[in-house]
Amino acid sequence: MDFDELYQEIILDHYKRPRNCGVLPPPATRGSGFNPACGDEVTVFVQQSPEGKIQSVSFQAQACAICTASTSLMTLQLKGITREEALALQRKFIDFLTKEGPGDGLGNLRALGGVRKFPQRLKCATLGWHALEAALNG
């Protein structure tokens, strides 16, 4: 059923118990994403090492299950990779949702594939990722 495909168990799990929730103090950088349709807001915090690797990530969200879970799942895949690798992951994830991209290397993020059938939830699924991009740039 479409609905259960959208709200898979792992999504409900990450929605109810989001990982890496909270604030990272400076010098960690932060970035926010805003969804005008519902007023949802996600802020992502990124701590990068001098060599340009992501050391730690956290987020705060006032958001729906899809958005919260997508952001929570995202934070689990970022540790130790570079800025460029993170942005490549973002592109791969968005292609997976919008262009039937293959999704290899996305791991648990593939659980968000149900969004393909709910284009109006695309913004929810990608909001945290746009916040990540903003955090990486700033």
Binding site: D2, L12, K16, A37, C38, C64, F118
Partner: protein
């Protein structure tokens, strides 16, 4: 009050309601966003295109005369529906939004720095942002009547003192709030405003299809509503304006049909309403709206209002029984609109979950973002009823909210 019977008699006029969504019968509870269409309206539009379409006003041939007659008859129909003194007070617009933009520009440009524009905190963005823009253009100042607490009542007893203390020129307020469901005492408010020489605009988007409306009894200067919220077509709406006021206003959009004469340098305007209808109008929309108003009168506007109030009260009472649910809007009489926060569950998730059961709700800030934020919320879920909704649909709504708590809780 006994349970109403309108749905029994009229629901079958609405072909769209007879469908399943995700395998469940559709329960359409998103009427505050847009209502559905009886066959009469759909067929009137088809008939127009099949039999009588031509451009209006300028034409002398038979089809054009017929189209013009149908279009102007629709204007008279709207005038009668609102008990307007004259059909020359009726301007066709795309909807409420355009009607308010028209007033905020064509009337609003007479505002001077520090003139006051008075709104309430519960206004729809359509009755907020155009006034922000007018204020920016003219230097006028915005003032707000506060909305207090989840019940969302404006303290109307403060109105007189605001009008005495501030140089308010216009008061623009909604008749029925699309997120609180409260019904504002517009006639009384307009009476007070008039006493202070303040121009009034009523946003009747949520009331026009839901109750008897009489612009003379209300005593407003302007009133706006949308066809698609009262069984009419998309792309059509109405601005009612007192004729003297309209005739003093400059045009809004310009082009064909609205001029008396034009040369390369300038032009001279027709009187209202044509001054405000530049270009080819939405002829089929106006005609379809006329058919919708006929239909609503045949259902009975008083009956529709009672039905609304019944569902509003019943829905509010049953939702209040859900402990996790925070309900917005008045404790007493209310329109058929209930807007709520369900525990910690985001409105998007509530709406998606209900949709899965065939129940159409709306989730978001309902174009009331400043108010929803003031109440400390991000978004609410909203159910809104019309006369074709049934008790069974209300039961299903209550059930689905319980299930959602179990699912997401």
């Amino acid at each position: 009050m006994t349970a109403p019977t309108l749905a029994e008699r009229f629901r079958e006029d609405f072909p769209i309601l007879d469908q399943t969504v995700h395998g469940k019968p559709l329960a359409y509870l998103d009427n505050a966003a847009s209502t559905q269409h009886p066959v009469e309206v759909i067929e009137e539009i088809s008939r127009y295109y099949r039999e009588s379409h031509a451009n209006v006003h300028r034409g002398l041939h038979a089809l054009s005369s017929r189209a013009t007659e149908l279009y102007e008859h629709a204007r008279q129909r709207v005038a009668a529906y609102l008990n307007s003194e004259s059909s020359e007070s009726i301007v066709f617009t795309r909807g409420t939004t355009e009607a308010i933009n028209l007033v905020a520009c064509a009337w609003g440009d007479r505002l001077k720095p520090d003139d006051g524009i008075l709104l309430t905190e519960m206004e729809h963005h359509a009755n907020l942002i155009p006034w922000q823009m007018a204020a920016r253009r003219t230097g006028a100042k915005l003032h707000f009547l506060a909305v207090n607490g989840d019940e969302g009542q404006v303290d109307w007893t403060r109105l007189e003192s605001v009008l005495e203390q501030q140089p308010i020129r216009i008061l623009a307020l909604t008749h029925i709030s699309n997120s609180l469901g409260c019904i504002n005492p517009v006639a009384e408010v307009c009476r007070i405003a008039r006493k202070h020489g303040v121009t009034t605009l009523i946003d009747a988007a949520q009331s026009a299809g839901h109750m008897p409306l009489d612009v003379q009894a209300i005593g407003c200067d302007f009133l706006a509503f949308s066809g698609h919220k009262c069984c009419g077509p998309t792309g059509i709406g109405v601005l009612y304006g007192r004729k003297e006021l309209l005739d003093q206003m400059p045009p809004y959009q310009t082009g064909g049909e609205m001029i008396v004469s034009v040369n390369f340098e300038g032009a001279e305007w027709k009187p209202a309403p044509h001054r405000f209808e530049a270009g080819t109008p939405h002829i089929a929309g106006a005609i379809g709206l006329g058919a919708a108003l006929d239909y609503l009168d045949s259902v009975g506007r008083k009956e529709i209002q009672e039905n609304d109030h019944y569902f509003g009260r019943q829905a509010a009472a049953r939702l209040r029984e859900i402990p996790e649910l925070r309900l917005l809007g008045p404790a007493g009489e209310r329109a058929g609109i209930v807007s709520f926060q369900l525990g910690k569950i985001h409105a998007h998730d509530v709406v998606a979950f209900a949709d899965q059961q065939g129940i159409a709700l709306r989730g978001g800030h309902h174009c009331n973002q400043p108010l929803i934020r003031k109440l400390g919320l991000i978004a609410t879920a909203r159910a809104s009823f019309y006369f074709y909704n049934t008790e069974t649909e209300l039961d299903r709504l209550v059930r689905v909210l319980h299930s959602a708590i179990a699912y997401f809780g």
